[in-house]
Symmetry: C2
Subunit: 403 residues, 2 copies
């Protein structure tokens, strides 16, 4: 029997009744003879409440103090869950980030895990303790409290599973797993049983909020299987994320990303390094560029289109215009309020007919594609935002049918 | 200019408005050129709320986890206060017990401070930081979180002031200082301007709740002046507790302690070691004995009276009767519902007329004294509980007059 890491999110630990449901999952694995490490988030809305109290004190919050403040949320959950397991007759012990310790970079509010000392946890597991770890937190090398930012507790869990060479990392949440598209928009979404790390990375960066990219990246690096499943559904099999991909569907999911703006540089001088100079200029100004598409027009010039967030459009246009000695395009066009629809699946571009099926579904619904971009495992198209939900449903139906 | 330690209790830090008042006291000392260390309690009723949440989980709370849970209260306050001071333009930084670290024994819920490493605080003070310390907490030598029990944040403050060789430790609270008696019972109580450590120890063990004995003991050991004053009264001079006692009144205070039972052993065999055997028997059974009075009757036997808490009376009587081969008294009498009234002042028993003034006040009010006990700095009498408030007022009036 091996080590199992289980992670429970804020809605799964919101109150005592839910903690009792959580303890059933823990006890189940423990009684099978496994060594169990549990990672918990703050209860319910605790973190948001603490953040808004901090904002009440100052609009320009001291990030070092904010980390010290909000890290208590996970510590509270860990202590309570350990109390409950002790009451139920199980040996359990809670650990904070600094007690392990989980060493991170010093970027308060968005720290990265550098190193986890597994000695303490391994020795407690050897004494048959169930080890409850406060997620989302660590300390930097000088002993300052840090937090890991969005998806932090997932990251703690997968990182712990990786250094402990755990057989799996279960991420318990309030949904039954990862779905083929957003169930709030698409009616007949399908649960994905198995998905590769790369597909999951594409799906989550495309707006599927179930798993944060950071933890999937760690899982991929250490080849740690991640299972996403429901805390509250007894029979939940969830979705397994691992290196294999024996999924029967070529397409594992369809995602949508809103609020996208497109900029086109017409007649950019076609000399070596020009494109590099333009995008370095944007990157130096902290503009996050997503899709880049380049089409050759003439031999001496080219057209380049790229997308940014709607909210970055004005700033981006200002920078481009102020640096015309670098950009040097004949014309700069821009439009906003696009959505990106992406289909994701391993080997997608090597499978005949996938792209044409996608484009056909859009054509049948008279939906214009403003940009097309493909990678090894995904095809993305830009459509008008007011047609995006229709596009998502049409493509989903084309690949998965009704029901 | 030296180091000043300021401590603010739960009611002084209950909300943002109160934190702003607290910051005024801090900034005042800082702007005078002092290095300021601030110790804070949990906000308002936070600790009680966390304890009741723990009790909801289990009636037999795991004390190790309870310490981890409740220690977050002070951490929250420390972070928030530091945020506020930063917002006001001052360099401030919060530290938890483990970040300093404050090393304690491992008695969870009632740990004793063994050692404080002052290096980190001193180096932050040298960088002109205002250092905000989460009170009430520490870690044991294995890195487990501990809490210091009742009066814990006061203890943290005075201990820090002592190791930092601070010029004073200010304990801010919601009263103006230490009073000559309980203002809820006695009308014309007087604020004490200056009191010795020993007198303060007697007063606080007698039921004056302002300062816990543990912090006064540390103050005495390291000769650290403690100033008790009001957070909210601008002109509060407070009460200074130090080794000198230049108080104009011989009597510094009058205290009352309720729920006392008296036991009398009649005709105890008068042989060497008999009294020791009896009280060792009680101590081995965790019975806390307060006053002991021995009166010689005949040459072969003696009568011994002593007091215990009302709640310990039945258990005490059972032990005495079950061990008659040790106790060996002709008769054992007991009564309950007494109160102890004590007058406290340095040199009290060397000052003629003090005892007779006290006894006279009681006689004038027809109040019987059931036991009299004196020490270097106090005289205690046992009266019936239903006459205790009258006794307290009568004695207070005799020494301090009306108004």
């Amino acid at each position: 029997m091996g080590i199992v890491v289980q992670k429970f999110g804020g809605s799964s630990v919101a109150d005592l009744e839910k903690l009792e449901q959580v303890s059933n999952h823990i006890i189940y694995e423990y009684n099978k003879g496994n060594k169990v490490v549990v990672v918990v988030s703050a209860q319910g809305k605790t973190t948001n409440k603490l953040i808004s109290e901090a904002e009440e004190i100052s609009s320009d919050t001291n990030l070092r103090e904010l980390d010290s403040l909000i890290s208590v949320g996970e510590q509270i959950t860990a202590s309570k869950l350990s109390m409950l397991l002790n009451k139920l007759g199980y040996k359990a012990i809670s650990l904070t980030g600094w007690q392990i310790p989980i060493i991170t970079t010093n970027e308060h509010g968005n720290a990265k895990i550098k190193n986890i000392n597994s000695d303490k946890i391994l020795s407690l597991l050897d004494e048959n303790y169930i080890v409850i770890v406060a997620g989302f937190q660590g300390i930097d090398e000088t002993g300052e409290i840090t937090t890991l930012g969005r998806g932090g507790s997932d990251t703690t869990a997968v990182a712990l599973a990786s250094v402990l060479d755990s057989e799996k990392c279960e991420i318990y949440t309030d949904v039954d797993g990862v779905y083929s598209s957003d169930p709030r928009i698409v009616k007949d979404v399908r649960k994905i049983n198995e998905i590769s790390y790369d597909e999951m990375l594409e799906l989550s960066s495309m707006g599927a909020k179930v798993l944060h990219n950071r933890c999937v990246e760690i899982g991929k690096k250490y080849n740690t299987p991640i299972i996403v499943k429901s805390t509250f559904e007894e029979q939940s099999q969830g979705t397994r994320v691992d290196s294999s991909s024996i999924e029967s569907h070529i397409i594992s999911g369809i995602a949508k990303d809103d609020n996208i703006a497109r900029i086109t540089l017409i007649g950019l001088e076609n000399v070596l390094g020009k494109t590099y100079q333009v995008f370095k200029l944007l990157s130096d100004n902290n503009i996050n560029v997503d899709i880049i598409v380049q089409s050759f027009g003439e031999t001496v010039s080219k057209d380049v289109s790229f997308t940014v967030k709607n909210s970055d459009l004005d700033k981006t246009m200002k920078i481009l215009k102020e640096n015309c000695e670098i950009v040097n395009a004949k014309e700069i066009l821009s439009n906003k309020d696009f959505s990106k629809i992406s289909i994701i699946g391993v080997g997608i571009t090597n499978t005949p007919g996938v792209a044409s099926k996608m484009f056909g579904a859009l054509y049948d619904n008279k939906i214009n594609m403003h940009i097309i971009s493909t990678s090894e495992i995904k095809i993305s198209v830009l459509v008008n935002s007011d047609e995006a939900d229709l596009a998502l449903n049409a493509i989903h139906k084309a690949f998965f049918g009704d029901k």
